[in-house]
Subunit: 341 residues, 2 copies
DNA sequence: CTGTTAGCGCTTTCAC
DNA sequence: GTGAAAGCGCTAACAG
C-alpha cells in the first residue's frame, strides 16, 4: 500500500500540518526540509490527489468532451489543449461521445461527478441540456468549434458562414456557375456553411437546382455517395463545395473511382488542411482553420472563468459570455480550375 | 454548492447508511426509496466520486496513456477502449505523451496520483522505468501495440516481424529484387519490422545495399525525405517497404511530386489500412492490423488484473504475464506491380 | 432493513 | 515555524 503523510510523520516526527505545508511549497526550516526530502524518497511518497481534492474541492483537472475521438480534427485540438493545460499544472480527463448525444450526456455527468474544475466541450449536435449537470454544479464550460442553437455560452469558433461564402465566391470568381454543395444541415457548422454557400450564390445571382444540394451528415460515406450521385447527373456541376473534411475525403474517393478528373473536369473545394490535402497529387484548395488556436484560446477562457469563480468565492458570475471568433484563410491548392466563358 | 448526502438526510430523515445503500443499489423499503428518489431529484444530487474514491480506494477509472493523440491509430484504439470501458461502467483518463518520453513519465505519475484502477499504455519508445510509479502503487498495467526491450509485461501486440516478412515476401513473389526499406529502428515496432524485412530478404538470398536502408523515425517527414533520396538513386529500387503509416504517407507525397508513377515505375507496400489507403486513386497494398481488437483485448486483460487484485485483497499476484498476439492480414490494393524477368 | 460510528488521506484554522 | 484538531463527502462494519 502506498505511503501516506502519516507514514512521513512516523518517519520524521513532524506534524501533519508541517508536512502538508512542505508538500504545498510552504516555509519549512531547512533541516526539516531535508528530513522530509529524505522520507519522501525513502517511502516513495506520492500525494493522493483524491484526498487532496476532497478537501480543497478542486482537482486541478479539466474535463474535455469531444464529439469523435477518431476524428483527426479532434485529435489535433486535444493535443494542443493538453500542452496548454500541462503548462499550467492541470491534467485533462478526456471523454469521447462517438457522435452520440446520449453518450455525451452520460460523459458530462461523469465529468461532473469527477469534480473537474472546468469543462471544454466540442459538442455533438443537439440541445445544450446535456450541459445542465455542469451548470448545476457551477462548473465553467467553454465550447470549441461548435455552439448551440438554444443557448449562448463561452465559445471559440470560426465564422463558418463567412468562410464558406468566401470559398464559394472564389469558385465564382474562377468562372464557375454550376456549383453543387455536399453538406449536413443538422450539424452546427454544417448549417452555417450551407447558409454561407447559399448567400454567396444568391448574391452572385446564381441558381442552385435541388439536385445540387446534397444534405446528409458530416461523414466520408455521405461525401462518397453524394458525389457519385452528382457525377451521374445529366447537367453535371463544374465545382463541388464540401462542408467538412470527412465529406471531402468521400468526394475524392468517388472521383478516384470515376473517369472524371480533378480539376480538369470538376473542381473541388472544402474545409481543413489536414493529411488529405498534403498527400494527394493535386493538393486541395481548402478553407484552413487555425486548429491550435482553438485549444489555446479555449484553455485561456476556461482558466479565466475558473479564477473568477475562486475570487467570487464559489459561484460563477453572470456577466454575459465570451465569444472568440478565429480567423480562417484559404489554402490555394490545385483542385480548382479556372473556367472561361 | 452541490447537494451532499447530508442534505438528503435532512430532506428525508433517513440515515447516512441507508442513503449510501440506496445509492449503491442495496435493498431499501419501497416507501423510503420513493422519498429518496424525490429528494435526489429535488436537490439535483450527484455522487461525489472523489469522496467515494477516497474511502473505497477505487475510482472506477482507467488511465490510458498514448504516445501521440494526433495519430489516427491512437484515436481508433482510444475510441474502442472507451466503448468497452463504458460498458463496464468505467471511465477513462487519457493522457498524451506527444512522443516525448519525459512527458510520458509525468503523465504516468499523474495517473498514479489520480488513483486510477489500472493503466493501458501505448508507450513511447524508451525504458519501462516510466512505469515504476504504477508498479510501486500496485496498479496493473497493460501495454498495447508496443512492448519494452527491458522488461516483460502484459501486452497486446501483433507479430511485427512476421507481418513485415510476409509483406516483403509478397513483393519478392511478385518478382521484385531491388527492394528498399524506410524504417525507424529506434521504435519497437520499427525495429521488429525492419528485422522482418531483412529476414525475408536474406532467406530469398537478395542483397540490400546500404542506400536502400533509410533509417529515421516513424514520421511523414522521414518518409518524404527518404523517398526523395531513393528516387534519385542511379540504381533505383523497384519496390519500397515502409515500416509504418506515417512513413507511407510521406512516400506517397514524394511520389506525387515526382514524375515517377506507382505502381508502373515503383511499387509501394506499407502498414495500416486507414484513411490514406482508401482515398488514393490506386489503393495501397498494406498490412492491416485489427485495431479494434487492441482496445478490446487490452481492456479485457486489464479488468482481469484488476479483479485478481481485488481477490488477492490488495496486492497483485506474480504469475507471469499475458501476451496476446493478434493476427494481421494483407490488404491487396493496386500499389504493387508484378515484374517479370 | 436501518442507524451509529469510525475513518479514508489530506488541508486548514487556530493556538503556541 | 510548528502542532493539535476538525472536517471535506462518502462507505463499511456492527448493532439493533
Amino acid at each position: 500500500m502506498p505511503a501516506t503523510i502519516k507514514d512521513i510523520k512516523e518517519e520524521t516526527g513532524l506534524s501533519l500540518a508541517t508536512i502538508s505545508k512542505y508538500l504545498n511549497g510552504g516555509n519549512v526550516l531547512p533541516k526539516n526540509r531535508e528530513k522530509l526530502d529524505a522520507a519522501v524518497n525513502k517511502l516513495h511518497y506520492q500525494v493522493n490527489e483524491i484526498a487532496r481534492g476532497l478537501v480543497t474541492n478542486s482537482t486541478r483537472t479539466v474535463g474535455v468532451s469531444v464529439f469523435d475521438i477518431t476524428d483527426v480534427f479532434n485529435g489535433v485540438i486535444l493535443h494542443e489543449i493538453g500542452v496548454q493545460l500541462s503548462k499550467l499544472g492541470y491534467g485533462m480527463l478526456i471523454v469521447d461521445s462517438a457522435n452520440d448525444h446520449e453518450r455525451e450526456a452520460k460523459n458530462i455527468r461523469f465529468l461532473v461527478n469527477k469534480k473537474v474544475d472546468g469543462i471544454i466541450s466540442l459538442p455533438v449536435a443537439g440541445s445544450s441540456e446535456v450541459l445542465n449537470p455542469a451548470f448545476g454544479a457551477d462548473i465553467p464550460v467553454v465550447l470549441l468549434d461548435r455552439q448551440y442553437w438554444d443557448r449562448s455560452l463561452d465559445s471559440v469558433t470560426i465564422n463558418n458562414r463567412e468562410a464558406a461564402a468566401g470559398a464559394v465566391k472564389y469558385l465564382i470568381d474562377n468562372g464557375h456557375r454550376k456549383i453543387a454543395v455536399i453538406c449536413a444541415k443538422k450539424e452546427f457548422t454544417g448549417r452555417e456553411r450551407y447558409d454561407g454557400f447559399m448567400k454567396a450564390m444568391d448574391e452572385a445571382g446564381l441558381p442552385v437546382p435541388v439536385e445540387y444540394i446534397e444534405d446528409g451528415d458530416h461523414s466520408m460515406e455521405h461525401g462518397y455517395a453524394a458525389m457519385n450521385r452528382l457525377l451521374k447527373l445529366e447537367d453535371r456541376p463544374t465545382a463541388v463545395f464540401s462542408s467538412n473534411y470527412g465529406i471531402n475525403m468521400g468526394v475524392i474517393m468517388a472521383l478516384n473511382e470515376s473517369q472524371i478528373n480533378c480539376p480538369e473536369d470538376i473542381s473541388v473545394m472544402g474545409f481543413d488542411k489536414l493529411m488529405l490535402s498534403n498527400v494527394l497529387k493535386t493538393q486541395l484548395t481548402v478553407i484552413e482553420q487555425p486548429m491550435e488556436r482553438f485549444g489555446q484560446k479555449g484553455v485561456e477562457i476556461l482558466m479565466q472563468r475558473i479564477n473568477e469563480k475562486k475570487e467570487n468565492k464559489g459561484s460563477l458570475g453572470d456577466e454575459g459570455h465570451i465569444n472568440i471568433v478565429l480567423r480562417t484563410r484559404m489554402h490555394i491548392g490545385g483542385s480548382v480550375n479556372k473556367i472561361s466563358h
